[in-house]
Amino acid sequence: MRYSGLKVITQGLFGNKGWGPAWRNPAPKPEYDAIIIGGGGHGLATAFYLAKNHGLTNIAVLEKGHIGSGNIGRNTTIVRANYVLPGNSEFYSHSLKLWEQMETELNYNVMHSQRGVINLFHSDGQRDAAVRRGNAMINQGDDAELLDREGVRALVPYLDFEQTRFPIYGGLHHKRGGTARHDAVAWGYARGADMRGVDLIQNCEVTGIDIEGGRVVGVQTTRGAIRARKVGMVVAGRSGQVAAMAGMRLPIESHVLQAFVTEGLKPIIDQVVTFGMGHFYISQSDKGGLVFGGDIDFYASYASRGNLPMVEHVMEAGMTLMPMIGRAKVLRSWGGIMDMTPDGSPIIDKTPVEGLFVDAGWNYGGFKAVPASGWCMAHLMATGETHAVASKFRLDRFRTGHLLDEEGTGSQHNLH
């Protein structure tokens, strides 16, 4: 069914009884041309673009839980393209362009809102770094504008500009950045893939990867064996375990990242504001909750919850930046499991096993990458060639020394 304003009106007139399920719930077939392990944002986008861009429709997405139950359903929904390094810059630029056409492409309202992202800076050195970043973004064809202190004040007057530790010198304004409704992104890609014939198989956990003579031939699942000559592992957060089924160790360590949301409030924060010195960022959802978060908890973890020291740190940073936040009540907090790589950048590549591909290592920046990750992973699986904008996301770059260390923090998984 094609969604439209007219449809909403006519359905409303007749009691909304005509809406069908947005996708089928098929049983797995014994064989597919390609299998995607993982029904999250990246996996669903991969399936969608395999079908749409490459005409591969005899494919299945295998999801151990339900569609969108992983990190696509538990992130802070920020979309931006403000990277510096060649390799990252063109990839996220491509992703932002796909975001801008996503709702038309999917015929689905993902509530993409280009409300702007403001990265604050607090010293002359940081201002220089912001200028450099802004120039890199402009060179890439994206937008960036340097705001002085008064420019920031005009947009976000409620910040504490007078604080002594981190006085606000200005900010880098990325107007095309913003937020989107995270679940809707998963649902939109799921519906789009399903409409093109992709089987979305839920409650189907992969328990083994079948390899014969160095080539993948299928997978074992809780719903039986499924054969395929091409298999993509798109399971960020759990990449280590799935790769271990193929006898591989990945350059990834899993860490927990916490996020918080307050009770619903009247509109107050119109942009995404990031306070890098305090490891704090905040935006307001359309429902009214202030959505904010900080850094990872710093030790390897698979618990989908964090520890209290980081909760305290994030709250302190929020109070430092905008004292008014002290009046808001935190409604809930949660943790997501992040694939942390030693340089903070992702992996979209072939593996040493013929026909087995990996899309992983998204650190805590996977949400904004969903469309381009799917686009490039689909290109890789369909053609066997790395897509131009993802050509630096190699699996062996740590061994060969071709790191993409955007933050320049060194080769340790928890430092990014």
């Binding site: 280590g240 591989m248 160790r249 618990a303 928890n414």
Partner: protein
């Protein structure tokens, strides 16, 4: 989370710095790129019982090997690196590729 330092007793997690997996305790041969890659980058990344290296930064400055569960955050055992190093040096590093 609290970690029982063998020298200081049970202490708040905030006193400790997490360094990384026990792979850091191995010593790759000079020039063996695969072994260096395995030590620095590749990880078993287990959901469950792991051994990793911590530093008692705001305490006695000991380097520690902590045996703990990455799913429940339960800490099972804490040893001084100095006491376990001999055992770990024999641990053979696995390469990355199948």
């Amino acid at each position: 989370m609290r970690i029982t330092c063998p020298l200081c007793g049970p202490r708040d997690r905030r006193e400790f710095y997490y360094y990384g997996s026990e792979d850091y305790l191995t010593q790759p041969e000079v020039g063996d790129l695969d072994a260096v890659d395995a030590q620095l980058h590749l990880r078993d990344n287990v959901a469950g019982r792991v051994r990793d290296v911590w530093y008692h930064e705001a305490g006695c400055a000991s380097w520690l090997v902590v045996t703990r569960d990455t799913v429940s955050h339960a800490v099972e055992k804490v040893e001084l690196v100095a006491n376990v190093k001999g055992i770990l040096a024999k641990t053979k590093l696995k390469g990355g590729a199948a």
